[in-house]
């Protein structure tokens, strides 16, 4: 019996030592809480060490790395076609949106231009993956704040979009449909009118979300004025996407950057909000989903006909050079810095993901916040773990 006790004592001491190593100066009255790797509020395995004084956060430090798969190392041992399959697993919700910047960077290096129909279909699938990604955010936002119903409505309506992506590309989450120089295949018959109906359903879903969640006074008291991020801090930390536009910065890569997609042929609004609080971030994402459905409608009307693949050699050898392309992904600005030395595969790929910067502001924004608000702020920043850890 006694050795059991000793082992328990040893493990107890080891646990305490591990804890002590974490909080450098031993606080007497503060309580260190692990909003740990396995926690319902983190989309995956992000651990936030939080030191509480009562229910108020004194000091917070997220420690990522539980999901680190070493993408940048893997890209160095793969050929260009193999990297696209690897890369659409980074932000596993906005599946197609991960491949596009990498393929555009490779095309810029080889200075190949995808035929117009391929560009239009790429933009349509890009917006569809945005709707799928942000649609789930709207549902998940409800769960973080305690409302159970929105998440089921979100999953039900997101299913339609996933079926569309699967019908066109073959894969629901990992389409692997983008090739250097165009697309793997063209759209199946009847896909365009199917998409139009789904867009109507999605607009109806956005209205439901607005009534169920955003119009609710409890939701507004829980999110207004919580986690305010002023404009200059957002710029310094490199926040992007809805988090940046919620702080009043009018910056949208689809409109402001010259990207060989079909965004310049489409008329859409860029929503901004002056408050910079959690409500603004969530509200902007809701408006962006509506804008995405409008974009898809306009793209479907003007879809040009023609080939879907440009003239590309069978074995792809990208000439030597460096390229940086970043697009407005559902989570924010995602970009690839591709360095190639004329080999079959890339020499070095720096993957700039949106959530990495979005979460690097958490230690700054969580100071002096209540525990329930930690969850609200994390939910409104909307990160995907694969994005942070790569």
């Amino acid at each position: 019996m006694t050795d059991l006790l000793d082992r328990q004592k040893l493990s107890y001491i080891a646990a305490q030592a591990a804890d002590a190593r974490l909080n450098v100066e031993l606080e007497t009255e503060g309580m260190t809480l692990n909003i740990g790797p396995q926690h319902p509020a983190t989309h995956g395995t992000l651990r936030i060490i939080v030191r509480l004084d009562g229910e108020q956060v004194v000091w917070a430090d997220p420690s990522a790395g539980y999901m680190h798969r070493g993408y940048e190392k893997l890209t160095e041992v793969r050929t260009f076609p193999q990297v696209t399959t690897l890369v659409n697993r980074i932000d596993w919700l906005g599946s197609f949106a991960n491949e596009v910047p990498f393929i555009l960077a490779a095309e810029q290096l080889m200075d190949i231009e995808a035929p117009p129909r391929a560009q239009w279909i790429r933009t349509i699938l890009f917006e569809l993956s945005r709707i799928a990604n942000v649609g789930l955010f709207l549902g998940d936002l409800g769960v973080q704040l305690g409302a159970i119903t929105p998440v089921f409505l979100a999953f039900r309506d997101r299913e339609y979009v996933l079926n569309l992506i699967e019908a066109a590309t073959g894969g629901r989450f990992h389409p692997n449909f983008d090739r250097i120089g165009g697309l793997k295949d063209d759209l199946p018959k009847g896909w365009v009118d199917e998409t139009r109906q789904v867009m109507k359903k999605l607009r109806n879903f956005c209205d439901e979300m607005e009534n169920l969640l955003f119009g609710n006074a409890i939701f507004q008291t829980r999110t207004r004025g919580i986690g305010v991020i002023p404009k200059d801090v957002a710029l310094q930390y490199g926040l992007s996407g809805a988090n940046l536009r919620a702080s009043g910065v009018d910056w949208d890569l689809r409109r402001d950057q010259r990207i060989p997609l079909a965004y310049d042929k489409v008329d859409f609004k860029v929503w901004t909000h002056p408050d910079g609080d959690s409500f603004a971030r969530c509200w902007i994402r809701l408006q962006e989903t509506r804008e995405a459905t409008k974009i898809v409608d306009q793209l479907l009307d003007g879809l040009p006909s023609g080939p879907v693949m440009a003239k590309v050699p069978r074995i792809i050898k990208v000439p030597e050079g460096e390229a940086w392309i970043s697009t407005e992904n559902p989570l924010g600005e995602m970009g690839y810095y591709v360095v190639s030395q004329g080999d079959l595969g890339p020499f070095r790929v720096k993957i700039r993901t949106a959530s990495f910067n979005n979460i690097s502001i958490v230690p700054w924004v969580l100071r002096g916040v209540f525990v329930p608000d930690v969850i609200t702020i994390l939910a409104s920043l909307y990160f995907i773990l694969g994005d942070i850890d790569r």
């Binding site: 309580m31 229910e55 704040l145 305690g146 159970i148 039900r156 409890i218 829980r222």
Partner: protein
């Protein structure tokens, strides 16, 4: 005096009362869990809910209970063993002793206290104790936070509930629940007694305050900080598993049932249908068949009220801790005090 044909010795009656009490608590708990948690919630979220266990998932409850019973009953290493074990029982016991005072028919009641509602309100705060020691004894930071939140919340919402009930008591003129039911069914509103005098209409403000406080007492969603699953994993119940968690689960839904019963008695006229429909004037000339129909009416009123409670639970996000307290102290209590004053003045005038 016993209503039953044969004369049952005293110990027989109290045994029957105990059995009746357990049925009166567990049956509503079971129906509420199946009807609302499994079926209604799923329909509200455009899904079908459990369909595999039995026709339309009716045996799902049996499956759940079976699952929990055979699960291992864990205790954390540094938990305070004894208190950890009895905490769920306290919460469940408070529901049973609460149902003892609810009248189901002219003669079908467990006890007929003169200070019925006073006893009910006093006893309903026993569950706070159970939740607090559950949170404290499971030696887990999340449970501690959950337990303290529960203590703060339940006490904060005890007060508006009591004040709301006082409005009813003033209007009924008695503390005895049986008399309140009679007062509602025999009375009349402004001279017209077609609908009796359900305090739902005359005491509407009291009803709203009471229902909001009940929602908070049951730690249901707008006020479910103690079991905030997205923050505290599952609050004070985090460390419980096996049949102790089952007791917590039953206690939670039994509470919904019993509080709806009490709300039905106080505001919807309890077991009675307006006496004027049958030409009765007072308690004396109520027929015997009411003892059978009474409980059915009580159950339907309970289902209606818990439907409202659950409907709110599935559509609302959660309040933050301090907002909840501010809402209780700054809004509910002043409103209920105002309600008492107005009722008292009207009582004197009419």
């Amino acid at each position: 005096m016993s209503v039953f044909a044969v004369d049952i010795p005293y110990w027989g009656q109290s045994l029957l009362r105990v059995l009746g009490g357990t049925v009166a608590v567990l049956l509503p708990a079971g129906t509420i869990v199946y009807l609302f948690l499994f079926k209604m919630m799923s329909f509200m979220q455009s899904r079908l809910g459990p369909m595999e266990a039995g026709p339309y998932g009716s045996m799902q409850l049996v499956a759940e209970v079976g699952k929990w019973l055979q699960k291992e009953d864990l205790q954390p290493l540094r938990a305070d063993k004894r208190i950890f074990k009895i905490a769920p029982l306290i919460v469940l016991v408070s529901t049973f002793i609460l149902v003892a005072v609810v009248p189901f028919g002219p003669d079908a009641y467990f006890t007929n206290f003169q200070a019925g509602i006073f006893y009910a309100l006093a006893v309903s705060s026993v569950s706070v104790l159970g939740i607090l020691i559950a949170g404290w004894s499971s030696a887990n930071k999340y449970s501690l936070l959950g337990g303290l939140r529960a203590a703060g919340q339940l006490i904060a919402y005890e007060l508006p509930m009591v004040l709301a009930v006082i409005g009813v008591v003033i209007q009924a003129g008695t503390l005895n629940l049986q008399q309140i039911v009679v007062a509602q069914n025999a009375g009349e509103m402004f001279g017209w007694n077609g609908l009796g005098n359900p305090y739902l209409l005359t005491q509407f403000v009291g009803f709203v305050v009471f229902m909001i406080s009940v929602q908070a007492e049951l730690t249901q969603t707008p006020f479910d900080m103690p079991i905030a699953e997205s923050e505290l994993v599952s609050g004070y119940m985090t460390e419980y598993s096996g049949f102790r968690f089952l007791i917590f689960f039953i206690a939670e839904f039994a509470n919904v049932g019993v509080f709806s019963l009490i709300a039905a008695v106080l505001f919807l006229g309890g077991w009675g249908i307006p006496f004027s429909w049958f030409g009765w004037h007072s308690m004396g000339d109520v027929d015997n068949w009411m003892n059978i129909v009474g409980p059915l009416i009580m159950v339907t009123k309970m289902i209606v009220l818990s439907f409202v409670v659950m409907w709110v639970r599935f559509s609302y996000p959660r309040l933050r801790e301090d907002q909840l307290q501010r809402f209780a102290w700054k809004v509910l209590i002043p409103v209920s005090l105002l309600n008492i004053m107005v009722t008292a003045v009207l009582k004197v005038i009419f």
